[in-house]
């Protein structure tokens, strides 16, 4: 039974090298990677690369409010006199954090439930898990997230919790589909015949074969989660001021359009670039692994 796994792993390593080569040959994916790396770099080193790091927190200077883009403030200043460029850099932090936290909370339970339900397809375990996901998937995620946020005090943390609560079923469903077809595969049955433990079969035999799909979905989902997070902030149920959240910045800036367009436009572009980056990478993965169902 180790035979199948070792060759699998070996093939995987080989495949990874080849995959990277193929991935790097696709200019669109590389562009996506470039966006994501740039955004992550700016987010991580925001205190060092932004011209006015103090502007991201409790700072006001009404004397310099509403200035158009200039050399001093490349993206202009908002109505509080804060440098928008600096706030966009810090805003990347919250967007990425939203994506990373939500996905890290969601993927493990989602995947485990999906594996289990798929493996026990047709039993009551399958029924319980999958009907529960049906309930969560019965309403658009944004609406349920909004509803949950509305009973909690608005904050970044609660927004993350609400989105996480909505998001795991997508992974369960994805992995369920994969694992319920994988369990009839030869290598899984071989492992079963040789008496491998259930956890071995689930996590060592089936899971590795779902990884590429999960990975692809995650990179696409980074974008979606960031979008949903920005939508929550847009209506005021997400990050609270003075946290420089991109969605909040767009919503607040919208009041000052069209004269002070820079307050809205730059954060909006920042959201688009971030989401675009993850999307392009996800597409690259999808092409790479030749996946359809993600």
């Amino acid at each position: 039974m180790n035979y199948s796994r070792n060759t699998l792993l070996k093939r995987r390593a080989e495949g990874f090298k080849k995959g990277w080569y193929k991935f790097s040959r696709n200019p669109v994916s590389v562009l996506g990677l470039f966006f994501v790396l740039t955004v992550s770099f700016l987010a991580i080193f925001a205190p060092y690369v932004s011209p006015y790091p103090t502007h991201a927190s409790r700072f006001v200077n009404f004397a310099e409010a509403g200035q158009p883009p200039s050399l001093k403030h490349l993206f202009g200043t908002d109505v509080f006199g804060r440098d928008i460029l600096s706030r966009v850099f810090f805003g990347f932090r919250y967007s990425l954090m939203m994506g990373v936290v939500v996905l890290s909370l969601v993927v493990i339970p989602g995947v485990v439930l999906g594996l289990v339900a798929g493996y026990y397809r047709g039993t009551w375990i399958d029924t319980v898990i999958m009907r529960t996901t049906d309930i969560f998937l019965a309403v658009p995620p944004l609406i349920l997230a909004l509803a949950i946020c509305s009973v909690l005090t608005p904050s970044v943390f609660n927004a993350m919790m609400a989105v996480s609560l909505m998001w795991w079923p997508w992974y369960t469903r994805l992995v369920y589909g994969l694992s319920s077809s994988l369990r009839t595969e030869f290598f899984v049955q071989a492992a079963e015949v040789t008496g491998a433990s259930r956890s071995h079969i689930l996590f060592r035999e089936i899971l590795p074969n779902c990884v590429s799909s999960i990975f692809t979905k995650m990179s696409l989902d980074m974008g979606w989660v960031i979008l949903i997070g920005s939508a929550l902030s847009f209506v005021g149920l997400g990050a609270q001021p003075p946290i420089p959240d991109l969605g909040t910045m767009v919503a607040d800036g919208a009041k000052y359009l069209p004269d002070q367009w820079w307050i809205t436009i730059f954060p909006a572009f920042a959201i688009m670039i971030t989401v675009l980056g993850f999307n392009l990478i996800g597409d690259g993965f999808r092409d790479l692994f030749a996946l359809e169902e993600v």
Binding site: F80, Q240, D252
Partner: protein, 524 residues
């Protein structure tokens, strides 16, 4: 059946009105919700609507003093407990039936039973209402009440028959069912200068001129009044630039006002409506239960920046009562920014600066409040106090202020007096009865203060009453329960090129809502 007749009559009246008169439409933007039920509504948009749809016994003049309106004359008993009003006999409701003393009593009973809206003005003070004859009504007070006449602006007279015909049972009010609340939510039962034509929740309120109004309305007064339920800056701008909007709401940000002002034919009407902006501190939860802590914050606040940059044209408040309200005392103590004094007070406090994170809630519907919040936050950072700024929608603020444990450390709110006298605000802001309402976050619950307040309000002699008001103002300021930030200058962008708005010309009515009484506005 009767409802149908009303509608038909209304339609006939309406069509005649359209043919006969020629004032253009008056459209104004508003913040929702708007409640046109006289026993429910009490905020700005509701008051402005009630003023147009209903009549009251007396009407405020430009200084806020009572003029005869539906009541032609009145007298009081010697002990000032019995007030008798003589009504006009030519006032008819929108369905054509005459307004009688029975309707006045019904309106008062309904208001005090439901207990919402402006009911608090009368609750506990009014013992009963009696109908003497068709056109004479008598109020029996439980205790003397100095400003009683001024509070009667807020008794909007309902058509009893119409309400009774539309009661839904069961409801919370026993045999009165829902007391017509369901009906009056989207219908009017008044006699006012305007008739409700359409009320689309969260969208707009349309009223047309009442052609049978008992006071002749100027020909140029708007034939149709539309209150549109949005304060969205982009929408307001677009409508204003297309001349689809005559008067904009007062919630527009400074930046938006600048842009509106730049439009051709649009001017900004700025006036002092007797409204102040308060940072209300909860004196029942740590650390704002400590007077030194509160004083430290009052000393650290940068009043100048707020009035200079955030609300240009406003001025720092002097105590709890806006200066143009009768009874305001200009001599009360005013804080100014002094960090040394702030630190001294902080040293006296039993709490250290960073022991707690102070929650500062601001009203989501008023964008400029965020600027105040952030400015306050950075001010407090100077003395080491951590502020957490939270944006909260109006309805939620109202709800959380209903209980002391859910009331935040600080809420920033605009408040104005309900009748033009210092006593109104003193009571609604600091009396124990108002502690669970949105008008008080302080939770003073000070029985001594309550007694003094009641005694002041019960004083019928004006000078004596005002002296008591002054004492109260000093006393409250000394407790430092509130940071009296500034007195508002209300700013409305309006189409100066084609509307004639007395308020913009300086005739500012200090009673909330009366500046939008459409019958005094002329639209070409």
């Amino acid at each position: 059946m009767k409802g149908k007749i009303v509608v038909v009559v209304g339609l006939v009246i309406l069509s005649i009105g359209l043919v006969a008169w020629g004032g253009g439409p008056l459209r104004a933007t508003f913040a929702w919700p708007t409640y046109i039920d006289p026993a429910v509504g009490s905020d700005f948009s509701s008051s402005s609507s009630l003023v147009n749809l209903y009549d009251s016994l007396v009407y405020p003049d430009a200084k806020g003093d009572p003029l005869p309106h539906v009541a032609t004359a009145w007298e009081t008993s010697d002990d000032t407990l019995i007030w008798t009003f003589h009504l006009r006999d030519d006032v008819t409701f929108h369905d054509g039936t005459p307004l009688t003393a029975e309707d006045v009593k019904y309106s008062m009973d309904r208001l005090t039973t439901i207990g919402e809206g402006y009911a608090f003005l009368f609750l506990g003070r009014l013992a009963s209402t009696d109908v003497i004859d068709d056109y004479t009504v008598q109020f029996n007070l439980a205790q003397p009440f100095g400003p009683f006449l001024s509070t009667l602006y807020r008794l909007y007279i309902l058509n009893k028959d119409v309400v009774e015909a539309n009661i839904e049972t069961p409801g919370p009010y026993g045999d009165k069912g829902d007391y017509g609340k369901g009906y009056l939510l989207v219908n009017d039962a008044g006699s006012g200068p305007y008739v409700l034509k359409e009320f689309r929740l969260e969208e707009e309120l349309v009223m047309t001129k009442n052609p049978n109004y008992w006071i002749p309305i100027d020909v140029d007064a708007p034939d149709e009044v539309r209150f549109i339920g949005t304060t969205e800056a982009a929408t307001v701008r677009t409508m204003m630039s297309r001349k689809e909007l005559e008067i904009a709401d007062q919630w527009q940000s400074q930046e938006a006002l600048v842009a509106l002002d730049a439009m051709e034919g649009v001017d900004i009407a700025a006036f002092s409506p007797g409204t102040a902006f308060y940072l209300m501190m909860n004196t029942r939860i740590p650390p704002t239960d400590d007077i030194h802590f509160r004083k430290a914050m009052a000393w650290a606040t940068d009043y100048a920046t707020v009035v200079e940059y955030i609300f240009p044209g406003a001025f720092q408040a002097c105590g709890p009562i806006p200066q143009n309200i009768p009874g305001a005392d200009p001599t009360v103590f005013q804080y100014y920014r002094d960090l040394d004094k702030a630190r001294e007070e902080l040293a006296l406090s039993k709490y250290s600066a960073d022991e707690y994170e102070i929650e500062f809630h601001w009203i989501a519907e008023v964008p400029d409040e965020e600027k105040v919040a952030l400015s306050f936050m950075s001010n407090m950072a100077d003395i080491g106090i951590n502020i957490k700024v939270v944006k909260v929608p109006w309805m939620s603020v109202v709800e959380e202020m209903g209980a002391v444990e859910t009331s935040p450390h600080i809420v920033s709110i605009f408040d104005s007096s309900h009748y033009p006298e210092a006593g109104s605000l003193l009571e609604s802001r600091y009396h124990s009865n108002s502690a669970p309402t949105w008008e008080q976050n302080e939770w003073l619950l000070d029985t001594g203060l309550d007694a003094m307040l009641e005694s002041a309000i019960n004083t019928v002699d004006c000078a004596e009453r005002f002296a008591k008001y002054a004492g109260l103002q000093h006393m409250i300021t000394a407790l430092c329960p509130t940071i009296f930030l500034f007195e508002q200058v209300e700013k409305h962008a309006y189409q100066s090129a084609y509307i004639d708005w007395p308020t913009a010309a300086g005739e500012v009515n200090p009673v909330m809502g009366y500046n939008l009484a459409a019958r005094f506005i002329k639209v070409d």
